[in-house]
């Protein structure tokens, strides 16, 4: 069972929950930029939430299916069409052998996700099916997917039941109608900086943004005094301030350690929002406490479980072949 990349898109990769436990060896955690959208794609096809998905960035790929499959697409709207007919986001979709699935330039947000029912059948590297960054490896995890790559998947399946159900599009309002506020926690070097200005300034993500980091543009942040930092741990969402005062938010492929001071840390539930920011889209930063962020995280977890139960019940009544 395979799918084949006919056109590669801008930066198409494979991502599961990430490579946990190898940061001490210098490996990035990786994983999806928009974890919520990736989990929703998996839940829609009744996979484990952390199953590997195809992540597409800005310009989507064209994919040929060599066997029947059931898929779901979430995240930024890339005008997906199957054999030239538009297909909806956020619901399970049947794909037949030899079908061509085409994505175009993203219209909302920046990252789209496709899950295949049963998951991808590729060997793990260091406990993960996420693309390995900054190391020379072979196979489909070596970097972005390229024309001619074939990606094995676990189960070919189809059903005679109608799959006319999905999850509410309002779950993706953070992409369709983004709010201006991104919440963050104080970083370890918060008091090195003029933090009032950091919150008052309107920021935009520059075009120099990718899976490693988003460079922000706005009024530069000044250091109160000249201090140098000794290299220490960094993580997805760390807001570093390099000497030019223009912050960089480290993203999913960010390095595990860094030498720039960190004014803040984007809260976990807002990382999806940051990931889906489009270059030039304005936003502001608002500080909250770690306790508040954990409450948000717990309520996000409950929401995910609720949606998962709904989809599991739907799948319980569907006969698969």
């Amino acid at each position: 069972m395979t799918i084949e990349i006919i056109e590669e898109g801008l930066h198409t990769t494979i991502q599961d929950q990430g490579r946990l436990g190898y940061q001490s060896y210098g490996f990035s955690v990786s994983g999806p930029m928009d974890e919520f959208a990736a989990k929703m794609a998996n839940i829609l096809v009744n996979n484990d939430t952390d199953e590997a998905v195809i992540e597409m960035s800005f310009i989507g790929p064209t994919i040929k299916f060599h066997q029947h499959a059931i898929i779901a697409i979430t995240g930024g709207n890339m005008s997906a069409n199957l054999n030239d007919r538009p297909i909806p986001l956020a619901q399970p979709i049947q794909v037949k052998k030899d079908d061509i699935l085409q994505f175009r330039t993203v219209k909302t947000g920046g990252f789209g996700y496709m899950a295949i029912k049963g998951g991808l059948d590729i060997p793990e590297i260091l406990g993960s099916q996420s693309t390995v960054v900054r190391a020379d490896v072979e196979g489909v995890l070596r970097g972005k997917l390229a024309v001619g790559d074939t990606i094995p998947f676990s189960h070919s399946c189809h059903t005679e039941n109608q799959l006319h159900w999905g999850i509410s599009h309002s779950l993706f309002n953070y992409i369709e109608q983004p709010e201006e506020v991104i919440r963050y926690l104080e970083g370890p070097q918060y008091d090195w900086f003029d933090s009032d200005r950091f919150e008052q300034t309107g920021w935009i993500a520059s075009t120099q943004s990718n899976r490693m980091g988003y460079r922000l543009e706005g009024t530069p942040i000044k250091k109160r005094k000249d201090q140098q930092l000794l290299t220490e741990a960094t993580t997805f969402g760390s807001i570093q301030v390099p000497p030019n005062g223009q912050p960089i938010i480290l993203m999913a492929d960010g390095q595990p350690t860094g030498g720039y001071p960190k004014i803040g840390q984007v809260v976990r539930v807002d990382l999806s929002k940051v990931s889906q920011l489009r270059p030039g889209q304005p936003f502001r930063l608002q500080k909250i406490t770690a306790d508040e962020a954990i409450v948000l995280l717990k309520s996000r977890e409950r929401l995910i479980r609720t949606i998962q139960r709904f989809c599991q019940e739907k799948w319980g009544g569907i006969k698969l072949w």
Partner: protein, 226 residues
């Protein structure tokens, strides 16, 4: 000692800096990682950052665990390995060695001798997979980073940045002054040992000629294909 909640799933402990805190931090890391609710502990020059599942343990409890562990007498010996790493300091590989020689008014022989004399400690790995942050360089060789980083530094390049030295395990962008190259593969990617070097290990460099470099590179390729 300072404990900060730096994200929902991470607490960082910062020590007052002493150049030899590395062995202590690595011992604390190993003890912390034995606890099931801790995903990973990442060591820096004077910090240890503990990643955990905030849905399973509170920050308050986690801080107590870190404090208790850090206050225990660290008797556990780090089983570090000593690696002998061949380096060809020829100018074809050491593309910035002439810059270091000029900057420091040192001969090629002297730069090579100063760099290959000490035993270096691997404090931690970071920047990119397998990239070692080494302490122990002779400060006579300290040279600032390049003003503009290179887009591509070849795999195996040995470089200097300020008072530190390190090796690029894979081809990547980088701003370090490159003084040589090793044919040794630093990224075996085995599950139990993803990188050749680990925190707590030690390194000694020894100079080789270009002919020896090519011979060793061939042997490494055969080893990696098997």
């Amino acid at each position: 000692m300072l404990l900060q909640s730096i994200s929902e799933n991470a607490i960082m402990m910062t020590l007052p800096y002493t150049p030899d805190s590395s062995a202590y931090l690595i011992a604390v890391k190993q003890q912390l990682e034995n606890q099931s609710f801790i995903v990973e502990a990442v060591v820096g020059y004077r910090t240890i950052t503990v990643y955990f599942d905030p849905l399973r343990i509170s920050h308050q409890k986690m801080k107590k665990v870190i404090t208790a562990t850090s206050e225990q007498k660290q008797t556990e010996k780090i089983n570090g390995r000593l690696h002998h790493i061949p380096v060809c300091y020829d100018k074809t590989f050491g593309i910035d060695i002439a810059h270091v020689m000029k900057n420091k008014k040192l001969s090629w022989q002297k730069v090579v001798a100063l760099h290959s004399n000490p035993t270096y400690n691997v404090s931690f790995l970071g920047f990119s997979p397998g990239f070692p942050f080494l302490t122990g360089m002779d400060q006579t060789l300290a040279t600032p980073r390049k003003d503009k980083p290179r887009l591509e530094v070849p795999q195996g390049s040995v470089g200097i940045a300020g008072g530190q030295t390190g090796i690029y395990p894979s081809t990547s962008p980088g701003g370090w002054q490159i003084i040589g190259r090793t044919p040794v593969n630093l990224l075996p990617l085995a599950d139990d040992r993803p990188t050749l070097l680990a925190p707590g290990d030690q390194i000694r460099f020894y100079p080789i000629t270009k002919i020896e470099f090519e011979q060793l590179q061939k042997e490494e390729r055969i080893k990696n294909d098997n």
